[in-house]
């Protein structure tokens, strides 16, 4: 195992010359990068740099104008509408505004995501797995609370539990700490780090540079739609984990 190098791993996400244009505005320009399994990476850059566009391309909410986007072997750039669900089951998504359903409890929100993607899951199993996911994010005792009864950080934890309950290989988060204070933002970040530790590739778009500096993970910097810097971090430690 020790002779496997980091660059030999099959990438989970790969952007090949990706370009995305909105009318006359170039949102992403000639982007190349790869994300490896179990890698936690940050996507940083000023507002309007193209971070959200990049995440939306991974989840195929939008198509690239030019170039290729590969996610776990699926060509997201060229996927038919019929196969979109297949791609999205591979990608957990976390938003800044949580996007929880207000009429469902925390456990029901998590179970809902599970059952609408896999009809073979019975109510009992869905609930059990939802409670496991909530437990993993430290919210087992809030399972029966409705979103309005939870704090922002707790709601974000529920959203993360919902994103990972079906154990997708990739988790993308768009400003997951944007609505949180620094302390709770730090808690969410360590939670994302835990998720990556268990093998899920995590890509986080953020403005919170304090967290980026503290975690010392890979950082992709976007500016005016171009990846201007790709700063690796903790290479030896991550390689040790990835090949173990």
């Amino acid at each position: 195992m020790a002779d496997v190098t980091f660059s030999e791993l099959t990438p989970l996400v790969e952007f090949v010359g990706v370009n995305r244009v909105y009318g006359q505005v170039v949102a992403l320009d000639d982007c190349f990068f790869r994300l490896l399994p179990g890698e936690l990476s940050f996507l940083v850059g000023p507002s309007g740099a193209g971070k959200t566009t990049l995440l939306r391309l991974i989840n195929r909410e939008i198509k690239p104008t030019r170039g290729e986007v590969w996610v776990d072997g699926l060509p997201a750039h060229d996927l038919s509408a019929k196969r979109l669900a297949e791609l999205r089951r591979k990608v957990g998504v976390v938003f800044q505004d949580f996007k929880l359903l207000p009429r469902l409890t925390a456990a029901e929100n998590v179970a809902f995501a599970l059952q609408v993607t896999d009809l073979r899951i019975a109510d009992g199993e869905a609930r059990e797995r939802a409670l496991d996911a909530l437990d993993a994010v430290g919210l087992h005792d809030r399972a029966e609370h409705y979103p309005h009864e939870l704090s922002g950080a707790q709601q974000q934890r529920v959203a993360i539990a919902r994103a990972v309950v079906s154990q997708p290989p990739l988790l993308i988060a768009d400003e997951p700490t944007g609505n949180l204070d620094q302390e709770t933002a730090w808690q969410i970040s360590t939670l994302l780090e835990d998720i990556a530790r268990f093998g899920t590739t995590v890509l986080v778009a953020t403005h919170n540079m304090e967290i980026v500096h503290r975690l010392q993970r890979r950082v992709l910097t976007l500016s005016a739609g171009r990846i201007v810097d790709d700063q690796p971090a903790g290479r030896s430690a991550r390689l040790l984990w990835a090949t173990s």
């Binding site: 989840n59 509408a81 019929k82 979109l84 669900a85 297949e86 791609l87 999205r88 089951r89 591979k90 990608v91 998504v93 996007k99 359903l101 809902f112 995501a113 059952q115 609408v116 993607t117 009809l119 073979r120 899951i121 019975a122 199993e125 059990e128 797995r129 496991d132 996911a133 437990d135 993993a136 919902r162 990972v164 309950v165 079906s166 154990q167 835990d194 998720i195 530790r197 268990f198 899920t200």
Partner: protein
């Protein structure tokens, strides 16, 4: 995070049961729940669809009646009734019958006496009261002449209408333009009716599609989450199509019952009036029309919804 574990897979029959239950719950249960919740926005669609289907039903009733009248007219058009004078002698009548029988355009000739004419009238809807009301038998004896071709009815009529045995006031049943006029009226009624129904169908489909659009908008958060977590497309769209089908089914049931009531009323009223209101219309025809509307409703509703869903639900 490692403790989000999947247990061993249950037996196949239990999986099938779970899939059926979940599918029913998300598709049918969800659709009915939303239909009830959004009834305010669905009501106009329900109303317009019911109106459309009811008019289709009444159109079908009209078509049944029209078809029966057309058949009767076509049948009657080739039969010429030559009415005889009350004081015509037997010899004169025999001579006329022989003349007609010798005509190559004539297929057959049958003598109908005054009493037979009265008996026939008593079997025709509306006429028994008229026959009973008269003190003496008002119906003349006649020769019923079956003509080989409808086109030759005029020629046969011309050859006998001045015969001394023939009634000079109303010599025969021949009316050269009646059948043509009737066909023309039937054609225009059908054309205007179809155009009106197409317009109404367009309105009903548009209103239904708009109500489904409103339902989509009211559930956009839930739809967005379903799409983002990777719910299959049919599962996202299905409840809306079924919601439209439920609206259509309710409209179909309402209009079917109303059309059946109209048929029952027309049949009963026709049986007890001088002029038959809807000749040829039976309860069986009414039931078939009602059933047709009941089945057409869900189809119309689901097709309208599908159009709206395809238009307003992005992947």
């Amino acid at each position: 995070m490692g403790n989000i574990l999947r247990g061993p897979r249950p037996p196949r029959w239990r999986t099938v049961k779970v899939v059926v239950r979940n599918t029913f719950r998300y598709l049918v249960g969800g659709a009915i729940r939303n239909w009830l919740r959004n009834f305010g926005s669905t009501a106009p669609a329900l109303g317009s669809m019911t109106l459309l289907l009811l008019l289709v039903g009444l159109g079908l009733v009209g078509a049944v009646v029209g078809q029966n009248i057309a058949n009767t007219e076509a049948r009657d058009a080739s039969v010429l009734h030559v009415y005889l004078r009350d004081d015509a002698t037997t010899d004169a009548v025999n001579a006329l019958e022989a003349q007609l029988s010798g005509n190559p355009d004539v297929q057959s000739v049958a003598y109908v006496s005054k009493s037979e004419a009265l008996a026939r009238a008593q079997n025709r809807p509306g006429l028994p009261q008229l026959a009973d009301a008269a003190e003496s038998n008002p119906f003349p004896a006649s020769l019923d002449v079956k003509i080989r071709s409808v086109d030759r009815v005029g020629a046969v009529d011309a050859s006998v209408r001045h015969n001394p045995a023939v009634d000079s006031g109303v010599p025969s049943s021949y009316d050269p333009s009646a059948y043509r006029r009737f066909q023309q009226v039937l054609f225009w009624v059908a054309a205007v009716g179809i155009a009106f129904l197409i317009l109404l169908a367009f309105i009903a489909v548009t209103v239904t599609a708009n109500s489904i659009r409103a339902a989509i908008l009211s559930r956009r958060d839930e739809i967005g989450i379903m799409q983002l977590v990777g719910a299959p497309r049919w599962m996202v769209r299905g409840p809306f199509v079924i919601e439209g089908a439920v609206t259509g089914a309710a409209a179909g049931a309402l209009s079917g019952v109303l059309a059946l009531v109209v048929c029952v009323f027309a049949v009963q009223a026709g049986a007890s009036s001088f002029a038959q209101i809807a000749p040829g219309l039976t309860l069986k025809a009414g039931l078939v029309i009602g059933l047709f509307l009941f089945l057409a409703g869900p189809l119309l509703g689901s097709v309208s919804s599908l159009g709206s869903v395809r238009r307003h639900l992005e992947s």
